[in-house]
């Protein structure tokens, strides 16, 4: 039975991977300081071998899951004979150990991507970037091996079936969400590595910003997609119809996103104009630090959250040490080196530099606000002042207005020019767009009950849309000495900006509409009964008992009518997972472009009646539609032609 050797091979390849990662972290560095071409050149082969070893380990763990090898402790805790095959595969990252291995795998894949594009970088920079990534990889491989190996065996008493995967995770959204989210989290390590290399070499010119830009855009796009997917998953799977909860674990992914957004913008200024150099370096470090902080918060057990992993104090200490070495080390390096930077470019109050500076300030304030709200209860508790909660009402009151401020400037920024913008040339279109947006928002708001906050925020959303389109129209047809019918090719990075900004505005419309124009009620319904909610008639047809692969389910049949026409058949379920003895609510959705019908079963009442929760969610899909547009924008920016040129042969 050779298959029974596989977990040991997996463990062994992780150990080897750690050795290669440590070699990668040291040899090219030594090569740089000793000016040895030979040592610098080891970076690429070392990376390749390390990546191969991590991939092997990951595949062996996946194999253990697929073949039901319950002699592996981690498999027996997170899988089950009856689990459908696709969930057996996704169960690989269903617990702490495996998801950490996924983290390391994705880091390895980013390393590989950098190694493959090594020719586009100067001869000393590329290997050093890989080497810094090697530090991160060494740290996490050590964390994996010393505190959380997924290959630990339980011998000789091998269980015949496992404890099953957490039912919450048995879902397509959770197959995709973690890998994509980690792509984003870990992807910021590349920008971090570029920043650290810039500090080490003292080469803080604008070039590093240019190299780091596509990598940052790619990571940002992944993180955006990951957060969007996570929000969509929470919406339909958690069963209470919310799309964002300001849960500490959500915040942990949101903070790097905010900082990453600031970084994307400040890299532009640094590349184009050579200003804010040391700030951009700090921001790159800050963004990745927030990714690491998120990992710490989620995995060390300091948080109470729906999503946090089971904690173990030794893991907490290890990951904190890792945080101190990586973040503390790079911040110390920054403190020692960033003083040498001098920028000599000037710009005025109306120049694009000023707008982007404002963008960075506001995004930083927003990031710190989320950080404050997330850590405050922890600090409060640590100081023995009792326990408090910081939730949605706080963030809506504090984060909301500042974010709206940012969006106001987001509409104007693209109009501006580098150095200085002639005010006279743009205040007429701005005023026009503003009046138009406020009018449109007013019509929509008056249609319902008037609320000035709703009106303001809708106006801002429309303003961003109209200004973005106006700017595009202007650049497409009016700029230069073009005639109206001439089509010029704008660079894809410009479209990236247009699409991402437009997506942000679409999301904002979704956020506003769903919060002001939704209906929700909790009803008691019996089969044969009906209810009217927000103009829709919900008819409860029947209940049936069905048997799934690893669960039993009460499934309801509902029809929804609008003005006598059938608009949706809804089948909400209440699933009982037999192995874990856990009940899960599967909400039923009638999705639509302007509204979602959302129905979930509550508790079973006497005489076959059920508690039923019905929501009409207005424009909720726009939130994720906007997210997807932002992803598209990020991808366009990442794959802009300008960054794909190879290094010129000297």
């Amino acid at each position: 039975m050779t298959r029974f050797m596989f977990p040991e091979i997996g463990q062994f390849s992780l150990i080897l991977a750690l050795f290669f990662a440590v070699a990668l972290a040291t040899l090219p560095m030594v090569g740089y300081f000793r000016q040895s071409r030979l040592l610098l050149n080891t970076a690429r082969p070392l990376t390749h071998i390390m990546v191969c070893l991590v991939v092997i380990a990951f595949l062996l763990l996946a194999w253990a899951f697929i073949t039901d090898d319950f002699s592996v402790l981690y498999v027996s805790q997170n899988s089950n004979v009856d689990l459908p095959l696709r969930y057996k595969f996704s169960a690989v990252w269903g617990g702490h150990e495996g998801s950490l291995l996924l983290w390391v795998l994705i880091l390895a894949l980013w390393c590989l991507a950098v190694a493959l594009r090594l020719d586009s970088l100067p001869q000393t920079i590329g290997p050093l970037v890989l080497s810094v990534l090697g530090w991160v990889a060494s740290g996490f491989l050590a964390f994996l091996l010393f505190t959380s190996s997924p290959f630990v065996r339980i011998l000789p008493d091998v269980p015949t079936s496992g404890g099953d995967l957490n039912p919450l995770l048995q879902d397509i959204g959770l197959i995709l969400h973690p890998p994509i989210l980690y792509m984003g989290y870990v992807g910021f390590s590349v920008a971090f590595a570029f920043a650290v290399v810039a500090l080490i070499t003292g080469n803080l010119n604008a070039y590093w910003a240019r190299w780091a830009r596509p990598w940052t855009a790619a990571a940002w796009a992944s993180l955006t997609l990951g957060i969007t997917l996570g929000s969509w998953w929470a919406y339909y799977e958690l069963g209470w119809g919310g799309w964002w909860f300001w849960d500490p674990v959500e915040n942990a992914s949101f903070m790097p996103w905010l900082a990453g957004t600031a970084l994307l913008h400040s890299l532009v200024v640094t590349e184009k104009r050579g200003v804010f150099k040391s700030w951009t370096v700090l921001l790159a470090i800050f963004t990745f630090s927030l990714s690491l902080l998120g990992t710490f918060l989620v995995r060390s057990g300091v948080l109470t959250s729906v999503h946090a992993f089971a904690a173990d104090p030794t893991r907490g200490v290890f990951i904190l040490a890792l945080l101190v070495v990586l973040v503390g080390g790079s911040l110390l390096l920054y403190a020692l080196r960033a003083g040498q930077v001098r920028s000599s470019v000037n710009f005025g109050f109306s120049g694009r530099e000023a707008w982007l500076l404002l963008n960075n300030i506001l995004l930083s304030v927003l990031t710190l606000t989320v950080l404050l709200g997330t850590l405050y209860p922890l600090l409060f508790d640590a100081l023995g002042m009792g326990r408090i909660s910081v939730g949605a009402p706080y963030f809506n009151a504090v984060f909301g207005p500042i974010a709206l401020c940012l969006m106001v400037f987001m509409a104007i920024g693209p109009f501006s020019k580098w150095h200085h913008t002639k005010l006279a040339s743009w205040w007429i279109p701005i005023l026009g767009a503003a009046l138009l947006s406020m009018g449109l928002a007013a019509t929509i708001v008056f249609w319902q009950t008037f609320d000035w906050l709703t009106w303001c925020s809708l106006s801002v959303a429309f303003w961003v849309m109209s200004m973005t389109l106006l700017d595009w129209f202007n650049k497409q047809f009016m700029a230069g000495k073009q005639r109206l019918n001439q089509w010029r090719t704008l660079p894809s990075r410009y479209y990236a900006m247009v699409i991402a900004h437009f997506g942000m505005a679409i999301s904002l419309v979704g956020v506003i509409m769903v919060s002001v124009n939704s209906h929700e009620t909790m009803l008691k319904m019996s089969p044969g009964g009906q209810a009217e909610v927000g103009g829709y008639v919900f008819v409860f047809d029947s209940m049936e008992l069905i048997k799934g692969p690893n669960y039993l389910s009460d499934r309801g049949h509902f029809q929804v009518y609008q003005q006598g026409h059938l608009v949706a058949d809804l089948h909400p379920e209440k699933r009982f997972f037999t192995t874990r003895q856990q009940v899960m609510t599967e909400a039923a959705l009638g999705a639509g472009f302007t509204r979602d019908l959302y129905l979930s079963l509550g508790e079973k009442l006497e005489d076959g009646a059920w508690g039923v929760r019905i929501h009409i969610k207005s424009f909720v899909r726009w939130i994720w539609l906007g997210g997807l547009l932002m992803v598209l924008g990020g991808m366009l920016a990442a794959f802009d032609k300008r960054y794909r040129q190879k290094r010129k042969k000297a």
């Binding site: 209470w240 919310g242 849960d247 500490p248 959250s305 729906v306 000599s344 470019v345 000037n346 710009f347 005025g348 109050f349 530099e353 000023a354 500076l357 404002l358 300030i361 506001l362 304030v365 710190l368 606000t369 404050l372 709200g373 405050y376 409060f380 002042m385 009792g386 326990r387 408090i388 909660s389 910081v390 939730g391 949605a392 009402p393 706080y394 009151a397 504090v398 984060f399 500042i402 929700e520 009620t521 909790m522 009803l523 008691k524 319904m525 019996s526 044969g528 009964g529 009906q530 209810a531 919900f538 409860f540 029809q559 009518y561 006598g564 059938l566 609510t585 509550g602 508690g611 039923v612």
Partner: protein, 133 residues
């Protein structure tokens, strides 16, 4: 076909049918709105991280009922919040109370914002001065 016909009749009100009942009834629409917003701001004391509105746990059902009773018997929102805090602590408030201990939490972001604006103006003044050739 028969079913659709039947449903058509139901909708026209020609057939008697059991209608769903609201799990809770309120004396006024205002009370219902107050109830909805209160149960969204109160945290379930036993759950991981859920408000009373979202949670199906036993204690949440009881506390929702209590909020409902108190609203219907004419208590103000503040009285209801104080009642909950006296029994379950400040932990149940998703909107932290404004006390000296939470000063930084509530005003910190705006102090940062102010600092940001000052920084913005300072950087621009410095750059403009340098720019005048």
């Amino acid at each position: 076909m028969m079913k659709q016909l039947l449903i058509g009749l139901v909708l026209l009100g020609l057939v008697n049918t059991t209608f769903a009942e609201e799990r809770m009834t309120f004396r006024s629409e205002l009370n219902q709105v107050r109830y909805q917003s209160l149960i969204k701001e109160l945290r379930c004391p036993k759950c991981q991280n859920q408000n009373l509105a979202d949670s199906n746990s036993g204690i949440s059902v009881d506390l929702r009922q209590q909020v409902h009773n108190m609203i219907e018997s004419g208590k103000t929102d503040q009285e209801i919040v104080d009642y909950m805090v006296a029994r379950y602590g400040t932990f149940v408030l998703y909107r932290p109370q404004n006390t000296p201990a939470t000063f930084l939490l509530w005003y910190g972001p705006f102090i940062l914002l102010l600092g940001g604006v000052v920084l913005f103006v300072a950087v621009l003044m410095k750059n403009r001065g340098r720019g005048s050739k």
